[in-house]
């Protein structure tokens, strides 16, 4: 492009600006959802600027280097690292140059930005930007790739003429063109006939549906050549329509038969091409269009799944079969990584069914399939499951549950270990359900995790054992009461909240004495959350005066509160007793217990509690009277809309 110096400087400046703008727009567009107004307006203004730039200056060709973009050897952009890497985006995909062509309009810019966004947001960067841009059909943005350079050594400018002219052209001609003589050429024109019979009797392949041609009439290749000196008749008559109509009926008669009449024309047999029978009618065009529309429904997972099933049936020997099973395993992994659990489950289910079908006749083959099923539940494959589910949170829990149904106890320890890797709560819940169902009969496997050094693995095991809730499971859980990591102990008291076995209260009661205050509080909360008579009895057992005396005041208050909430009316007498105990010597413990009891009564919803507090508010002892009054007010706030 030939511009004046000033205009060129202005162009360089504009290009720098537009590229910076492009980077900004790419970042924003990649971060925000499609319908957000911010990226929409940015895209619009950028597209308009780029469109007017290319209108003003025509084609703008940019070359790409590792971290530079250049316009006619002038650097117009440099990567600064981090997110500032526009050149890198193109370079890493192998694009060596790109051009904003004159005619680039706003719509095409939008498409381009969407393509780049898709590429940037692909989690494993597995997409090819060059292919995406090409597929988008943006005609006014062109680019070159590294393959154009790499493959240039295979450039096919096979210039025979130059080769021939180089030297000894006669010899070269001889070599290249064979018997290249005037006589030879003349012979082409002067031959009257060629041996025109083409033998279409191809050897019948076993199982082939190719029919043998028996007729010597088929394939009459060429007519007689014109006699030298005589102008040959034209092959194509101007009244060709009538002739073709006549030949149409010949062809129609011949359709479906092996014999075709010998062609008497002076040219190649054009029946096939000129005959309207061999052209698509409007209905046939529509049928073909429908074929294409149906093809657009192609689903790679369904197709590959059914193909693999067919391949398994094709194998004739064990080696091939084993290889096919290996391929199934590899593809299963890919399905899982893509979050396609329905298809992977179907394939896995098929493998399991095939195994049982082959078990009696081909035990070795059945074993191979069995190995594949077990491998699907191995730690590595389950890691892929975690990765796939984390990338595809939309995967439904039903799909996951059905997929897991294909696994047996062998997968238990792997899933237990990896439970924490699943980021989405719904997926974790589903996995826990599975582990609970299968783990009941395989406690030893599930409980292995509680001896693990990794706290989260221990936590996972606790979660499952608590859900299982059998006596044996609780026995195993007891071992974690003294775990050195408070996160584990905290997980224990939290998980025991929902444990179906009331014996969990024993562990919770023991946890009330944990060395960590938060865990103690959480243990009490878990007891409260369990409700019911067993919870009350457990707390009741824990609140003897001797026990209470050994606890800190916050723990006392928590325990008495739990007692009061769980006990209701039944708790009132004991709490009253604690309040009314004489404290002639102003013992701290007695005061504390009194305060804790009053606080506990604040959370008691029974009528008896209300009456008791009223009575206490008329007590002759001023401290009790005062505290009772406060407790009444506080209770009303808590119960009727305070807390």
């Amino acid at each position: 492009m030939n511009l004046g110096v000033d205009k060129r400087q202005a162009l360089i400046k504009d290009i720098r600006f537009i590229l910076k703008d492009l980077l900004k727009v790419i970042k924003v567009v990649s971060m925000y959802p499609e319908d957000n107004p911010l990226p929409q307006s940015l895209k619009q203004s950028f597209a308009e600027r780029l469109e007017s730039l290319s209108e003003e200056y025509g084609d703008i060709a940019i070359s790409v280097e590792k971290d530079l973009l250049k316009y006619e050897s002038e650097v117009v952009y440099e990567d600064r690292g981090g997110d500032d890497r526009l050149a890198g985006i193109f370079f890493e995909t192998g694009i060596t140059d790109f051009t904003f062509k004159d005619g680039l309009d706003v719509n095409e810019v939008f498409i381009l930005l969407d393509v780049i966004k898709k590429y940037m947001n692909c989690p494993d960067k597995s997409l090819d930007l060059a292919a995406l841009i090409w597929e988008s059909g943006v005609t006014n943005f062109t680019f070159g790739t590294i393959e154009d350079i790499v493959l240039s050594q295979y450039d096919g400018s096979f210039n025979l003429q130059a080769f021939m002219d180089a030297d000894d052209s006669g010899h070269h001609r001889q070599v290249i063109f064979g018997t290249d003589t005037v006589e030879n050429y003349a012979a082409i024109f002067d031959q009257h006939t060629e041996s025109s019979e083409i033998d279409l009797n191809e050897p019948e392949a076993p199982g082939s549906s190719v029919l043998l041609s028996g007729s010597p009439g088929v394939g009459g290749l060429t007519p007689s050549l014109p006699v030298p000196g005589q102008k040959p008749p034209s092959v194509f008559d101007i009244e060709g329509m009538d002739e073709i109509a006549a030949r149409t009926s010949e062809a129609a008669a011949a359709m479906g038969l092996n014999d075709l009449p010998v062609s008497s024309s002076r040219g190649p047999d054009t029946t096939l091409i000129l005959n309207d029978e061999f052209r698509l009618s409007e209905e046939e065009e529509e049928i073909t269009a429908r074929l294409c529309t149906e093809d657009a429904q192609f689903d790679i997972y369904d197709s590959t799944q059914s193909l693999l099933k067919e391949i398994l049936h094709q194998e004739a020997d064990f080696r091939g079969f084993s290889e096919a099973v290996t391929i199934c395993e590899k593809v299963l992994n890919e399905f899982v990584l893509a979050g396609k659990l329905i298809q992977s489950g179907q394939l896995l289910q098929y493998i399991i069914e095939l195994e049982s079908r082959l078990r009696s006749d081909k035990p070795r083959w059945a074993d191979r399939l069995r190995d594949a099923t077990v491998m699907a539940g191995s730690r590595d494959r389950l890691k892929a499951l975690a990765e796939g589910l984390n990338k595809h949170p939309e995967t439904g829990v039903r799909e996951l549950a059905r997929y897991l149904d294909n696994f047996d106890w062998q997968a238990l320890s792997g899933i237990t270990d990896l439970l924490g890797d699943f980021e989405h709560r719904t997926h974790r819940e589903t996995l826990c359900d599975f582990l609970t169902k299968k783990g009941t009969d395989n406690l030893d496997l599930v409980s292995q995790g509680i001896f693990d050094k990794r706290w989260y693995v221990v936590r996972n095991s606790i979660s499952i054992l608590a859900r299982i809730g059998s006596d044996r499971a609780l026995e195993l859980l007891k071992r974690t009461l003294d775990h050195e990591d408070e996160r584990v102990r905290m997980a224990l008291v939290q998980e025991l909240k929902e444990c179906p076995n009331d014996r969990a209260l024993e562990l919770l009661t023991a946890a009330v004495r944990d060395r960590d205050a938060q865990i103690r509080t959480e243990a009490v909360n878990s007891i409260i959350a369990r409700r019911g008579r067993p919870a009350f009895e457990a707390v009741e057992a824990a609140i003897s005066e001797e026990n209470l005396a050994t606890l800190d005041q916050p723990d006392r208050m928590a325990l008495l509160k739990a007692y009061s909430i769980l006990g209701g009316e039944a708790a009132v007498p004991f709490l009253s007793q604690l309040i009314l105990r004489p404290n002639l010597f102003r013992e701290r413990l007695v005061s504390d217990l009194r305060a804790a009891a009053f606080e506990a009564l604040c959370h008691n919803r029974s009528e008896k509690c209300e009456r008791t507090l009223l009575k206490l508010s008329r007590n002759w002892r001023p401290d009790i009277k005062g505290q009772a009054g406060s407790a009444l007010r506080r209770r009303r706030e808590i119960i009727y809309g305070g807390d």
Binding site: D128, W134, E135, E147, V150, L151, Y154, S157, F158, N159, L160, I176, F177, G178, D180, Y185, I188, I198, L200, P203, P206, G207, S208, S209, V210, L211, S213, G219, L221, T222, S234, F236, A254, N258, G267, T270, L272, I273, F278, R279, L280, E282, E284, E285, T288, A289, L291, C292, E294, D295, I300, T304, L307, K309, E310, I311, H313, I327, E334, A338
Partner: protein, 481 residues
Amino acid sequence: MEMQVSDAIGRVLAGKKEAKLLNAFFVLYKNARIIESSNRAFRKQIAGFYEQLKTLSLQSGQVTIKVYSGRYFVDDRMVRFDDRGLSGAGTIAAEWRALGLGGVEFSTDISAEEIGRFIKFISSVKPTRENVESLSESLKSHGLTAIKLLSAKEVDTGRPGIPEEVRRQFRTAARSTFFKALAVVEDVVVNTAADRQVNISRTKRVVHSLIDHITRDESSLLELSAIKDYDDYTYAHSTNVCVYALTLGVRLNLDRARLSQLGFTALFHDVGKVKLPSDLIKKPDAYDENDWIQMQQHPLLGAKSILRNMKLDVHTARAARGAFEHHVNRDFTGYPALRREKRPVNLFSKIISIVDTFDALSSGRVYLKKAIPPDKVLKKMHYQMAVKFDPFLLKIFNDIIGIFPAGSVVLLTTEEIALVLTNNEADPARPFVKIVGNREGLLPNPVWADLSHSEQADRRIVRMIDPARHGLDAKDFILND
């Protein structure tokens, strides 16, 4: 001023407005035959077409729609095959051809009502009874003076010639792309044989280049597919199949993503053969029964190879299916015999089945061990092998190959030898050729001629020549410009 975008052979390309107008025209044409003029939806379509016409006529005055050489032109700008929505284009072109009609000119003062009447009229004419002159008279008598019919001859004479130098450059570029495709196939074969990863990105990009060429000018690649004696047939065969398949795909108006998948599938369709003994592939004699049994393993081997060595995505899934079922016939005969489920073969496999058979038979390097001329191959495919192929796709492929496929060597009535460069769909008997020799021998400078042009009325093709019989090498004619 609107910038003109030309293709590599100098034809000015139409933009989106022209393509939209043309598609609206086709839709009206089709609907006019089945819908009453008073139908509201039809009137709306007419109004839409009228608006688009007005928009274009503001820029360029009167608007013309012409067809020649199988292509549509709006105001002398070519509407490309890959522009969407050209449904019914083929049928209309054929009808116009039969009428001797080359185009229609709409003047600036045309009304929507006149358009409606014209469409109804033109879509109802019977080619056997009418011609351009009688139609023009009828238009006048109906008061449709704002529309002028152009005869095919008129359109033919008026069109600009394609610069020879531009054609040459384009063919050179096509050669480069074709040989790049050969190199990629070689790379694929070598890596697949060693069970190594295949560079999928590179393969896709070469396919994209092929598609770009075909959508501009399919013949320059098709003629390279006519070269049948590359040193390594396997690579050339896969590349040829890819070129033919993509050409068919473009005719089917497949979108770019699917064209990319189709080309990729075609390149990999025979990848299973690398797992067979090389003696078998290169065997010079015809195959015996044991050879066939081994050869019939290649679809299964190919599918397994692709699924094992490549990351699963839509391209590789398509390629695996294509490799597996491209020898499965419509009636589920062929091979491999399906054991589990008679699942219909998908579109890509049907396409590859046709083009694979065509290239194999016309090369004569496999199965038969001798080449059959293309027209005989097509006849064989239609009559004797019809059970194998989808009949509609085969017809489309017929059209692509034509009577004289690109790359054929032919004899002319003027006692010249010529190489066919481009099929002419309007008149398959009169392609665009390069005259390479006469009775005295080769011409030092080949002469390019468009046999469909009125200036070439004296030159006609007599017959095809089998170059090998006369010690000629078609490759030399194809590659030497």
